[in-house]
Amino acid sequence: MFRMLLFFLVAIGVIPFPVSADHSPKIEIVGSTTVLPIASRAAERFEKLQKIEKFKSSHRLRILVNAGGSGVGIHSVAKGRSDIGMASREISPSERKRFEGSHLKVHTVAVDAVACVISSEIYEAGIRDLTRQEIRDIYLGKIRNWKEVGGPDRKIVVVDKERHRGTRHVFMNYIFGNPTAKTPGTILVTGSNNEEQTKIAQSDSAIGMLSYAWINDEVRAIGIRDNKSIVNLTRETIRKGNYPIVRNLSFITAGEPNGEVKAFLEYLKSPEGQQLVEESGYIPFT
């Protein structure tokens, strides 16, 4: 109860009184956990660069990066609660309409793929690819056992994401042709990429969706099979545009950026910034 009270006090108190205790410039970035690694790397370097350039000034630029998901990123930048929003999907038509007055502007910095991922135990048992129809049936609850798609006799733990998450929008848009598709086969709902990665790794029979940069030995990406041809997920297939589930990773501002925000976005698009994109595990946007 106390926690609820605190939450509401914060919710009521923060909106009308944006805190500005000190006058050093500050950039607040909120949104997609997929874009977050790029943002936090860039923030760290950019702060240092600023420090070197203006080492005599006592006003040091601070950049705060917070997670929340693409929906939260778009919402908070449109409402002026943050300077930059991060999104791993397009702004949806309904969001465009709702935030028409904020003149949202998208600055794309990287390309990412959304992988269909499975637990390593299933991968090792021989599942290396699935068709779009099979994935659809799994999420609809029509296929409930790995046996039905040529795997071991084990029930499928279908992992879904919160509905506003960018990764889910992109994935469901490909699988169902509808970014907010209903998935009655779901067993678990997760939030951030980290949370989903953990849950899939802990399970020995899970399927889910993850950004390219979150794939590791315990959470394996599978290929998408279409008739006889299989497209595996590699840097090459993303770059060439063969892999079907790709998306742009973007920063969003309300209106044209200026001042520190503009400088930060330009830094991200510079060769040095694009190097950071590569370091974070994504494909530079050219």
């Binding site: 109860m1 106390f2 926690r3 609820m4 009270l5 939450f7 509401f8 919710a11 009521i12 909106i15 929340g68 998901g69 929906g71 939260v72 919402h75 908070s76 409402k79 609660r81 309904s94 709702r98 029930k155 733990v157 919160e162 509905r163 506003h164 907010t180 209903k182 779901t186 067993i187 678990l188 709902v189 997760t190 939030g191 949370e195 953990t198 849950k199 802990q202 399970s203 029979s205 899970a206």
Partner: protein
């Protein structure tokens, strides 16, 4: 004296204001869906807002946690209060009170990394993120609070009662169960109510292990399936909806529902106590 009265007033205003704020904010959703909001089973942002799965999840998780905690808490409280020497009693109490202050996120992370996997292995489940996991975690969380407050209640039963009972030839065990326990009942009830309050409002620990699936388990008593609770739902969606719109209003209505549920439980608890003390 007036200062204290003023402070009290501020607190009352806070509680009342919060209640009014919740009603005000959730009004649009009730205007739109009426009381079907509490009966609907589907929650699709932008289409339908049905709170029944969350209501059910919150109720079941809290009830189960209580069921798990009560026997254990009472047994241990009797032992600490009636059978331990004063020195060791102080030690145990200090540790318990320390545990009662551990924040939810710590339990949540322990739950994700250990408890959910244990539950999965022990019961041979498909997945460890279930209602049962959340209940166990909550039980562990509220145990120190319930235990230490119940023990306080037992301890505060006057020593003459015990001396008289012992003098009449009752054994120590009989004294504890037949004299101390009934006398301490109001205090124990209060302890349990506080525990329920914490369990119902716990957000992050539950959110991490309950599975967050907005669906009533099938069959309904299947505690080994994923579900959703009200705070966990709020935790997952509040940041996206904050400020305005139907979605926000629906979330505020969930908050209001939780508020009313906790009020009701406290009210019923108090009534129960009053009736007992009269008879």
């Amino acid at each position: 004296m007036w200062v204290f009265a003023g402070l009290n007033l501020i607190f009352l205003c806070c509680a009342g204001g919060l209640f009014l704020f919740l009603i005000f904010e959730s009004y649009p959703i009730f205007k739109l869906h009426g009381f079907d909001f509490w009966l609907g089973q589907d929650w699709w942002v932008g289409e339908a807002y049905g709170a029944l799965p969350m209501l059910y999840g919150s109720t079941l998780v809290t009830a189960l946690a209580c069921l798990l905690v009560l026997p254990l808490a009472l047994a241990v409280a009797i032992f600490i209060s009636e059978f331990l020497t004063p020195t060791s009693r102080r030690c145990v109490k200090a540790i318990l009170e320390l545990l009662a202050g551990v924040p939810g996120i710590v339990y949540g992370l322990l739950g994700v990394s250990f408890l959910s996997l244990w539950i999965k292995d022990v019961f041979g489940l498909l997945d460890g993120n279930t209602l049962a996991t959340a209940s166990c975690l909550l039980a562990i969380m509220i145990l120190p609070t319930v235990l230490t407050l119940s023990e306080d209640a037992m301890r505060s039963v006057p020593a003459e009662y015990r001396d008289n009972a012992l003098g009449l030839g009752l054994s120590k065990w009989q004294t504890a169960t037949a004299v101390v326990l009934p006398q301490a009942l109001p205090g124990i009830m209060g302890a349990v109510l506080l525990g329920i309050g914490r369990a119902m409002g716990e957000t992050i620990a539950v959110m991490l292990v309950v599975g967050s699936l907005d669906r009533i388990p099938d069959p309904w008593f299947n505690i080994f399936s994923s579900a959703q609770t009200i705070p966990s739902k709020l935790g997952r969606e509040a940041a996206e909806a904050i400020g305005e719109g139907t979605h926000w209003s629906a979330l505020m209505a969930l908050g209001l529902t939780l508020f009313i549920m906790v009020l009701l439980i406290n009210f019923i608890g108090n009534r129960f106590l009053k009736r007992r003390s009269i008879s």
